[in-house]
Subunit: 341 residues, 2 copies
Amino acid sequence: MNPPKEITIYDIAKVLNVSPATVSRGLKDHPAIRKDTKKRILDAARKMGYQQNTFASNLRRRRSNTIGVIIPRLNSYFMSTVIAGMEKVVNDRGYNLIISQSQESFKKEIVSVNTMYDSRVDGLMVSLAYDTEDTDHFEVLLKKKIPLIFFDRVIDHPGCTSIVIDNRQAGFDATNHLLSQGCKRILQIAGNLSRNVYSDRLEGYKLALAKHNIGFDPELVISNSLLSEQSGVDAALQIINMQYRPDGIFVSNDTAAVACMRQLKLAGINVPQDIAVVGFNNDPISKVIDPNLTTINYPGHEMGEVAAATLVNKLDQPNSPSVNTIVLRHELIVRESSTRK
Amino acid sequence: MNPPKEITIYDIAKVLNVSPATVSRGLKDHPAIRKDTKKRILDAARKMGYQQNTFASNLRRRRSNTIGVIIPRLNSYFMSTVIAGMEKVVNDRGYNLIISQSQESFKKEIVSVNTMYDSRVDGLMVSLAYDTEDTDHFEVLLKKKIPLIFFDRVIDHPGCTSIVIDNRQAGFDATNHLLSQGCKRILQIAGNLSRNVYSDRLEGYKLALAKHNIGFDPELVISNSLLSEQSGVDAALQIINMQYRPDGIFVSNDTAAVACMRQLKLAGINVPQDIAVVGFNNDPISKVIDPNLTTINYPGHEMGEVAAATLVNKLDQPNSPSVNTIVLRHELIVRESSTRK
DNA sequence: ATGAAAGCGCTAACAG
DNA sequence: CTGTTAGCGCTTTCAT
């Protein structure tokens, strides 16, 4: 009933009259094997339909050649470009990637970490969930010296490298741009301020205001938003009902920015004349909305590549020095949603 | 130097003065173990920080409890909902999911299949790449009786179940709707006609024309498009230059439809008055474009769930009868891009 | 209800 | 350059 029976290195060894050890070495290009025996081994393996048994190998070597990545959600353009970047690097270097979604939930993130741990990943890359509050759940990995890298939504942790953009500067750039277009009263739609990405952008916003001698008004910050479509709509409704409406909005992601703009337009508010809008991420959607959305370009693919390369380097050279933070370049992309002639 | 040393069932056995076999059984709730010893084992395991070694277990049991999924790309709303649906089902049933992207390339798909094979997945779910031409690369799995399920972009293969929507009917619905809005000259932007999803939609288009006694004009089909943003733009430019422009367009995905619409608008063409447009997928982008895009709702989450459930069922009950095709329900969503008063 | 023992397939230390 | 040997940690007959 069971499928034919697997071919093992023992079968190959028998056929070639060499030892299994030699076959094992030949198969993985060990330097101390003569060229011709190597060739004989490879040929026989191919002919016999040999498939190496990863479990046995992993068991023996005590590593999995697998890297885990935990992200809040897969369903954004940004995240899919990050993953694409990671896959590229990781596969080139002989590792496999396993992906898990925390669904923005701290609890699920804990489960994901444990699953990764049980899968014995050699290293882990994480962008934190919306409401993650501490990093105790990562300790189990760190105790085992499994390298951990944070990207995008990071947290400071000794011994872990973080890959980020300068969110404070980006927030500054966005806000400064609105100010340069004549906005005097700028509202910021922020995410959960426990997440670096959102608190830093808000800080940048404050810095820009300060630079222009505009007082900070907490009323003009909608914080702890999920930055979902619904959040954008809700924010717009709130804005529409304000006594003194803002003349500019800086939203911490494009999804919410676009939803907000649509709702504002429905209420007859003109973007950018009445209210100028800047988003964040440079999601393709930003070029679909009319008027096109000014936004901050977030180098997702590059972030994935850098995170993966950093991790793989650490795995391949465990004693290499490990940096604390790597900052990638962002860029303000000016489009019509914020441009006033 | 090496981390402390792993706790094994032998360690637990020693502490409790039982045999490793008993510990193994206790850990997995074997019926022939007394309640109290089971409890002692579980407690000790927890206290000692035991973590089961999946490699050893998999090696011994000759299965991985892992399911693979190969998709063309991760970066569409549709695919991320599919994956979310799969993850949910698969995790609930005690399996893990590993994802690989073929990047729409036949060659990479072959590599992915082999990687999955080497990872010894228990089953595989596949949506075919753009230019996949045959299924030889799956034979290696089928020979080993590893269940294979196709979804979305499928191919008929004896012994494999396919999960689809009725693309022909959907194409019919879309075209029929355009006709009902008074369109007489409808252009269809199709994908690679070797892929069921695109050829079926085109067939539906033809059926609708036939039903309305409109002759089929091959000039009005742009086929083998990648249905990318660029494809949409290119198609629009082509349309703009046509001597007799169409008055309706049915595009086989929303990305291309939206890009096409934008380009048409740039050329001063009014949608829907001059040209009515219908897309496919119900991507969130369809509600951002102005006017909102009429489209076909594609139940991604459900498709993921059904595919995964079908596969897991087959894995858990290998002798269960296996169906050929499962068809999910689609739905025409009428919005402004195709509505003429 | 529990234990003894064999072995899944591979790798690495050591020996030659 | 190649072989011997001893496990990696777990599951599963077969015994008791």
